[in-house]
Structure formats: C-alpha cells, structure tokens
C-alpha cells in the first residue's frame, strides 16, 4: 500500500525521495511496468481496432504502393508505409494484432478449461478414466505440437474455427497434470476430503473448494501458454497454413512481407517487432507474477 502511495504522491523531502524511488523500483521494476504498458496498449489496440485503424485493412491504394514508413523518411499518410498492393501497413498491423490476440486468448482459454476438466475427471474417477487421460498426456508430451497441428491441418483442411480449436489443444496437458496432481492431494487428505466427508456433492467440492484453491497456479500457467500460442499461431500463419487471407494475423503479415524483404523490409519488420515485444512482455510479467503469486512454482 505504502509503495503505491509513494509512486503517486509528491515526496516531501529530497533524501526520502531517493529512498522512495528505490523502493518503488524494487516493488515495480521498470521492465514489469514497460511490459504491462505494452500489453495494455496491445489490448486497447485489439479492442478498438475499427476506430484506431486509419484505413480498412484490405483497402488498396495503388498510387501509394510500397511507400516508405515515417522512420525511413515517409509521410504521415502511411506512418508505417504500405505494401505491394498499397495497403496501409499500420491498419493491417492493428487488424493482425486483434486476430492474433483473439486466437491466443481463446486458445489459452480452451486449453485451460479442457485440461482442468480432464484433470478433475482423472482425479475424481481414477481407474480406467485416469489411465486414458494419463496416456493422452504422455502422447501429447511425446510429440512436438507443431507436428500434430500440421497433420491435423493436412487431414481436415483449414477454417478459422478449426484453427482456434486446434490452438486450444496446445498445452492442455499442462493444466491436466497440475489439476490432477493438486486434486489428488486435496482428495487424499485435506480440505477436499473433509468437505466430501461432510456429504458435499462433487460440483460443490470441485467448483467451490478445489478450483479457487488451484486457480493461482492455473493462471500462472496461462501466462506461459499465451505467448506459446502466439508463437505457434504466427509460425503456422507464416507458413501459410494458419490464418488464411483475406484475414490477416501477425505471422501472416511476416510471411507476406518476406517476399519483399529486399525492397520493403518494413512490411515484415513491423509485425515481427510486435510479436517479439508481446511475447517478451507476457513472459516478463508472468515471471514476476509467478514470484508474487506462487512461491512454490519456480
């Protein structure tokens, strides 16, 4: 509490100013603040994509093809330049951010829910069901998910819904493992066993007691899954096997920009920068959260 005050209020005396600044820096490391700021910017961008984008992301301006971005001597009409078809890179970037974040968000949500439910099922029923879940976890862990994803895409073709669901299968096993382990411990001895012994139905035990108790661990895991899905999605989209045109995502843009790497490197550099910054920020923030929320995980 006092730390937040010190950041907000003007310090009364110079010596304590230095001390307060140092304390504030320890409590809120600059890296964390920058990461958080970047992520907030990304979320605002994704939420307000329609209003923020200067042009529709598919709009072509054939008179201004491959125009140079501001930093390389361009003008304000296209601050990040345009591509081969004269489409505004900034507008496409904003649209891509929304798409990539949405996919990562739903993917993470699906992975976490699926894994948690399977973990609960395994811990609740034990026996056969647990064996099946454990085998599935082993299988998932034994193959790189990239390969599994590629083969599923080969067999089923591509659509956005299928693609998002596929991303949701990434790392579900992490949640299943955590949930099963913690639930078994709670069921064996401890609060869950006690509540069960009181006559509570499974819904009450899992929903009201176990889930809130393991939520912080699950949330920390989600900060790992989210950037992983961004990387996976952008990788597949980069290969042309993920998000399909006319829709655009960050990986998609990099893949398209790679054709123009000699003549117009900005097409590929802008989305690359966003990918790296975003995954980096989430990792930083996740590390910091882990230390604060969950000292048992290192």
């Amino acid at each position: 509490m006092t730390v937040q005050d010190s950041v907000a209020a003007t310090p009364p005396a110079p010596p304590s100013f230095l001390r307060r600044t140092r304390r504030a820096l320890v409590a809120w490391p600059p890296v964390v603040v920058i990461s958080a700021a970047w992520l907030i910017l990304m979320v605002i961008t994704a939420a307000g994509a329609e209003w923020l984008a200067p042009y529709p992301f598919t709009a072509m301006d054939l008179k201004a093809r491959l125009s140079v971005p501001l930093l390389m001597g361009g003008d304000f009409a296209h601050p990040l330049g345009t591509d081969e078809l004269g489409r505004d890179v900034l507008s496409r970037l904003i649209s891509s951010i929304r798409m990539s974040l949405l996919i990562a968000f739903f993917g993470t949500l699906i992975a976490a829910s699926l894994g948690t439910v399977l973990g609960f099922l395994a811990a609740h029923f034990r026996g056969r069901i647990e064996q099946v879940v454990l085998m599935a976890i082993d299988f998932q862990a034994s193959m790189p998910f990239m390969i599994i994803a590629l083969s599923v895409l080969a067999f089923f073709g591509n659509s956005l819904i299928l693609f998002i669901c596929l991303m949701g299968f990434h790392s579900w096993e992490r949640y299943a493992r955590i949930t099963r382990g913690l639930t078994l411990a709670a069921n064996e001895q401890g609060y869950a066993a006690a509540v069960r012994q009181l006559g509570a139905k499974p819904g009450r035990i899992y929903g009201l007691h176990i889930l809130p108790n393991i939520a912080s661990t699950l949330i920390v895991s989600m900060t790992l899954t989210f950037p992983e899905i961004i990387l996976l999605e952008s990788g597949l989209s980069f290969l042309g096997l993920g998000v399909q045109p006319p829709l655009t995502s960050l990986g998609n843009m990099v893949g398209y920009g790679r054709e123009y790497i000699t003549r117009a490197p900005w097409i590929m550099l802008a989305p690359s920068f966003v990918i790296v910054m975003t995954t980096l920020s989430i990792s930083m923030l996740g590390d910091w959260l882990r230390d604060r929320l969950d000292p048992t995980l290192r």
Partner: protein, 329 residues
C-alpha cells in the same frame, strides 16, 4: 445394556500393489485391515491403538463408510451403510463425522472459518442463511470459540482454535458418531489436554459416541471406555479400558503399555525388537511371532483366533492363559 450404535463385522480392506520394478514388479496384495470386528454402544468411546501403519486409520475410514470394505459389513444403528456417493450415503454424513489429525489441512484456507462451520448446513439444506449463522455461532460457543472468530481465516488461528473449528464443523449437524483420527497428535502438548477435556465435556453434554484413533496410549486411557489394540490389520486384544491397561494380556499390548512413561512406580519395560514387518509380507502363523519374546513353535504355524477370556476381554494369543507368561509380567 445399551444398543450398539456402530458395529463392524469381520471387515477387511485390501489393496493391490506392485513391488519395485515398475510394470515388471510382482503383483501383491496389501491387507490393510484383515478381519476386524468391534461394536461401539451409544454414548461410549472405543479407543483404537497401534503403531503407525497397522491399519487403524483405514479402520476409521471404513467405519465411516468413506471407503468400501473389501468384505465384511459395517452397521450403523442396525442397518448396513449405503453405497458410497449415493444420496442416502450423503445424507448419512450428517449423522457421522470425522475429526482429523491436521486441522489446518482439513480446512479450506481461502475461506473464513465461520462459513466453513456452517457449510454442512448448506450441503444438507438445513435452515435459512440467518438460522445457519445463528447455529454456527451457537456451535462455536459450545466448542469454546468466540463470535469474532467467525470472520477469521484458518491461518490466523492457533492450532487449538483450528481443531475447535474442525470440531464445530463436525458438530453442527448434531451427529451421533464422531471418528477422531489422531485428533491431538499435531497439537502442542500444552493444548492437547484442553482439546481432550473439550471432547470429554462434549460427550457428557451431547451424548456423543467416539471412535478414538491414536497411538498415544495415555490419552486413549483417559478418554476410552473400551480399547482395541491393532497389529498388522488385526485386533490382537480388546476389552474394557481400565482392565486392559492394568493387566495387558497380549505380549504386544504389554509392550505398548510398558512403554507409557509414568511417574513414581518402577516397572519392568518390555522392549520389542525389530520393526513391524511389511504388511505385504505378513509372517505366517501369528503375525507378531518374529518380535514376540514368548513365541513358541505353534505361534509360527498357526494364527491365534481372538478368544474371549473369563474377564470379558478378548485376546488373540496362544499363550494368553499360560502361567509362565503371567509370571513374567
């Protein structure tokens, strides 16, 4: 003679285990409880003692119907316990409760203790929210907790207070039977006596029936009307508490009793050699014979049955009425 509240008839519980070596390990059967019978009358306390791993905790869970027996039967007020997880089984939870060794572990650390004490009422759909709160306050008062404890979190309370919370949660549905599984062994010695006195006091006031599981014979002697001594999944001696502690008949009981520290009187200590054997590999004959100083050839080949003695006790020992042992005592 009062009627039996709880009756266990030759209950067994076994687990399939594998010895070391993963999938290539040998399959084996672990007999955690190997044919145990007892009865507890209304308002009485049965103390269940034995070394750790002898199956007394498993017996407690079986008695409450928390795990199903592999064979045998548990009767509560004359009828067999319903199937685990059924509606009847859940309803039965109101009438039989458990108090655990680790009070902090058995409480949800994210919830205030008041709502946790009232939770059984919500689970069994008893009363309105206001009534539940009133009943929680009343129950808290009866176990010696104050009103202001209602909003505390488990980690903010002392060990003794936490055990009182667990007791209050167990008592709020007015159960008949409470199984106490090592209820005081995790507490500070200074607090143990308080909790024991509280248990005795509650029994007087509410007419509770206890199954009291402990390895601490001094406490068992203090709270129990009857005592059953377990060794490797079997009851080796059972009887009225005072008589059993005054003159233990089974060599194992005698060793346990002689290990109780006492002031004043000097007694010969009977010290057991070795550890209890692996329950997967129970010795043939009397399970106790490798550690028994009085073992004879017959003990190695033939398992002794639990036989009733003239004084009402039951002992499972071939040499229980042998004069030679009586002299050695």
């Amino acid at each position: 003679m009062s009627s039996p509240l709880l009756e266990a008839i030759d209950i067994r519980r076994q687990y399939n285990v594998r010895t070391a070596g993963g999938v290539f390990g040998r399959k084996a059967v672990l007999q955690a409880v190997a044919g145990v019978s007892f009865r507890i009358d209304m308002g009485r306390t049965l103390g269940l003692v034995g070394e750790s791993g002898c199956g007394k905790s498993t017996t407690g869970k079986l008695a409450l119907g928390l795990i199903p027996p592999s064979s045998g039967e548990i009767r509560f007020v004359g009828s067999t316990l319903p199937a685990i997880g059924s509606a009847a089984w859940r309803d039965m939870r109101r009438r039989m409760q458990m108090v655990y060794q680790d009070p902090l572990g058995s409480l949800d650390r994210r919830l205030q203790v008041g709502p946790q004490i009232a939770e059984p009422l919500i689970i069994h759909d008893i009363g309105t929210p206001a009534e539940r709160r009133e009943r929680a306050y009343a129950t808290m008062a009866s176990v010696g907790l104050q009103k202001h404890h209602f909003e505390r979190y488990p980690h903010e309370l002392s060990g003794g207070q936490r055990q009182r919370v667990v007791l209050a949660r167990a008592l709020i549905t007015e159960p008949k039977l409470i199984v106490c599984d090592e209820p005081i062994s995790a507490l500070d010695v200074s607090i143990q006596a308080q909790v024991v006195n509280l248990l005795l006091d509650l029994q007087d006031r509410l007419g509770l029936t206890y199954l009291f599981i402990s390895h601490d014979l001094k406490v068992v002697r203090q709270v129990s009307h009857d005592v059953a001594v377990m060794y490797l999944g079997r009851i080796v001696e059972t009887g009225q508490a005072e008589a059993l502690f005054r003159a233990p008949a089974h060599p194992y009981t005698r060793a346990l009793v002689s290990a109780i520290p006492s002031l004043g009187e000097k007694r010969e200590r009977l010290i057991l050699s070795g550890d209890p054997p692996n329950p997967v590999d129970v010795p043939a004959g009397c399970a106790f014979h490798p550690r028994c100083p009085f073992a004879i050839a017959r003990c190695r080949s033939e398992a002794p049955a639990l036989r009733r003695q003239p004084d009402g006790r039951a002992v499972a020992c071939h040499r229980a009425d042998d004069d030679a042992i009586a002299l050695a005592a």
